[in-house]
């Protein structure tokens, strides 16, 4: 597989469309165990990302870097630094490289490391990490398969429902956070589902 500049732009535009469609759903999930603004913040930020993607980009790294800086300055809350860091790390990892399956795995690994460090969090705390970590696992272990990438992300997202939150605002709900999907895990699932879609179409 190969992820081109055009693919990357298409990926981010589709992610923006998905966030825009699911804005109310994400905010509703966040109202249950957070502060109810995840959908609005993500949709507002990625709208700006999508609007900034019409320029010329030499390589995938440049698209991701532009995305990172826009996300950091437009999303706010906890999602801004976390997604911003993820895109920045991915951008740094693929600088000067063509993005094939191995590079993509390295990018996701770098992003996951960045998210963990920025959020001072680990797997199993009912956060976006619980989607990113299994996705990395599948990218590292097996030959690239778009459908499996999407499926892994979806199953991982579903698993956050039964977890108890120990990080972020949801942690104040303690065991009462069980029975609710983590909104950051859901938006991360959208991100990987759209990536799988774009790569799947290109293959």
């Amino acid at each position: 597989m190969q992820l081109t500049v055009e693919d990357t732009i298409q990926w981010l535009k589709q992610f923006n469309d998905r966030l825009s469609e699911q804005k109310d759903y994400l905010s509703q999930l966040d109202r249950a165990i957070g502060d109810g603004d995840h959908g609005i913040n993500m949709a507002r930020g990625f709208q700006q990302v999508a609007e900034g993607l019409d320029g010329d980009f030499d390589e995938v790294s440049d698209v991701l870097k532009k995305t990172a800086t826009t996300v950091m300055s437009k999303v706010g809350g906890a999602s801004g630094p976390l997604y911003g860091t993820a895109f920045l790390k991915m951008s740094m990892e693929c600088k000067g490289k063509d993005v094939d399956a191995a590079v993509l795995a390295d990018m996701v690994e770098a992003a996951l490391g960045g998210i963990k460090q920025r959020g001072k969090s680990e797997e199993g705390e009912k956060t976006m990490i619980d989607v990113w970590a299994p996705v990395l696992g599948t990218l590292q272990e097996e030959d690239f398969d778009a459908e499996r990438l999407k499926q892994t992300a979806e199953e991982a997202m579903q698993k956050t429902e039964d977890m108890t939150a120990t990080k972020g605002r949801a942690s104040y709900f303690k065991e009462k956070s069980q029975g609710h999907l983590d909104p950051g895990a859901v938006s991360s699932y959208y991100l990987f589902a759209e990536l799988a879609d774009v790569i799947g179409k290109g293959a």
Binding site: D37, G77, R169
Partner: protein, 328 residues
């Protein structure tokens, strides 16, 4: 839902311009930002204090800008932390070369965004230090406690310390001393309505209150059937006192803070019982303030903060402040 607004998307922008209109001689807005600073910033030879966070807690934080308190305040969207680029603008505009203290409430978004701003400032050669306020005892784990109304005492006392010409390290140490000695707990009687969605931020039945609520309506300790002001006062004092760790001669400052929609009349009813209870328990009250200092839009309810004082904290608490929301 009736609100005194225009377009919900314009609330922050219009609020910030309104705050400047009310204090044009003391506060200015940095162009194209959500940052307000002291009109005379940067103040030569003085450590700068910056605070901020999501909007919806007014008068926090911009109301505390002024000589003797904050040099700058950064406003995010409603209940959403501001972004690092905005915080960086505040740091750059207020640093006189003496360094900048960031006063951060312990919410993951605030901590991450201010931390990133501090990294960006470091890259530009500006020295910063941070303190993280965690006064809300409703959360068991002390590391995970939220920063709530006790933040106002940090602004007041560390702000007064900075006016003495103290170093960044000294101002940070004083701010940390306030944090180590301030404890707060709140109660909600009714939820706030989010201006963008028009929906309540959380659910609370008509005959229920929530003890230990956070300033964005985060889950507290428990929901109870409605209680009287005296019963709530007793509950909060009972839970706070063991956390403050008072010796015989210690004195406290008391803050009764309205959450936004509770009339001052009721805050005074509540305060009367708080003072009675403290007296009964032999706690000496040095200073009391009653009002809306750290709100949650139109949430009804209040919080009670106790701050254990020493001689340094007393002197700095009594020092003058020109901030619009805390004149002294």
């Amino acid at each position: 839902m009736k609100k005194l607004i225009n377009q919900p998307e314009q609330i922050i922008d219009e609020m910030l311009d309104g705050i400047v209109s009310a204090s044009p001689s003391s506060v200015r807005r940095l162009e194209d930002t959500t940052v307000l600073v002291r009109k005379d910033a940067p103040v030569d030879g003085k450590v700068a204090l910056i605070s901020g966070g999501g909007s919806g807690h007014e008068p926090a934080h911009a109301g505390y800008i002024g000589k003797g308190m904050l040099d700058g305040a950064v406003s995010g969207e409603v209940f959403t932390s501001p972004t690092p680029d905005q915080v960086l603008e505040a740091i750059k505009a207020t640093d006189s070369g003496s360094g900048v203290l960031l006063v951060i409430k312990n919410y993951s978004g605030d901590v991450m965004n201010f931390d990133m701003a501090a990294e960006l400032a470091e890259a530009e050669g500006i020295e910063t230090a941070q303190v993280i306020v965690r006064d809300d005892i409703a959360v068991d784990d002390p590391e995970n406690r939220r920063g709530v109304a006790g933040t106002i005492y940090v602004h007041k006392i560390a702000g007064a310390k900075a006016e003495t010409g103290a170093s960044l390290e000294e101002v940070q140490a004083t701010a940390q001393k306030v944090i180590d000695n301030a404890r707060t707990m709140g109660v909600a009687l009714s939820p706030c309505i989010m201006p963008t969605s028009g929906e309540p931020g959380f659910e609370l039945a008509d005959d229920e209150i929530e003890l230990g609520i956070g300033i964005h309506g985060e889950a507290g300790i428990e929901k109870r059937k409605q209680m009287t002001a005296d019963e709530i006062a007793a509950e909060l004092v009972e839970r706070l006192l063991p956390e403050v760790d008072l010796a015989d001669q210690d004195e406290v400052a008391v803050m009764v803070n309205g959450m936004g929609a509770t009339p001052e009349m009721e805050l005074h009813v509540f305060n009367r019982k708080v003072q009675d209870l403290l007296q009964e328990k032999g706690v000496k009250v040095y200073d009391t303030i009653v009002g809306n200092f750290m709100t949650s839009l139109e949430m009804a309810g209040c919080s009670l903060t106790l701050l254990k004082l020493d001689d340094e904290l007393k002197e700095l608490l009594d020092a003058p402040s020109h901030a619009a929301a805390f004149k002294k």
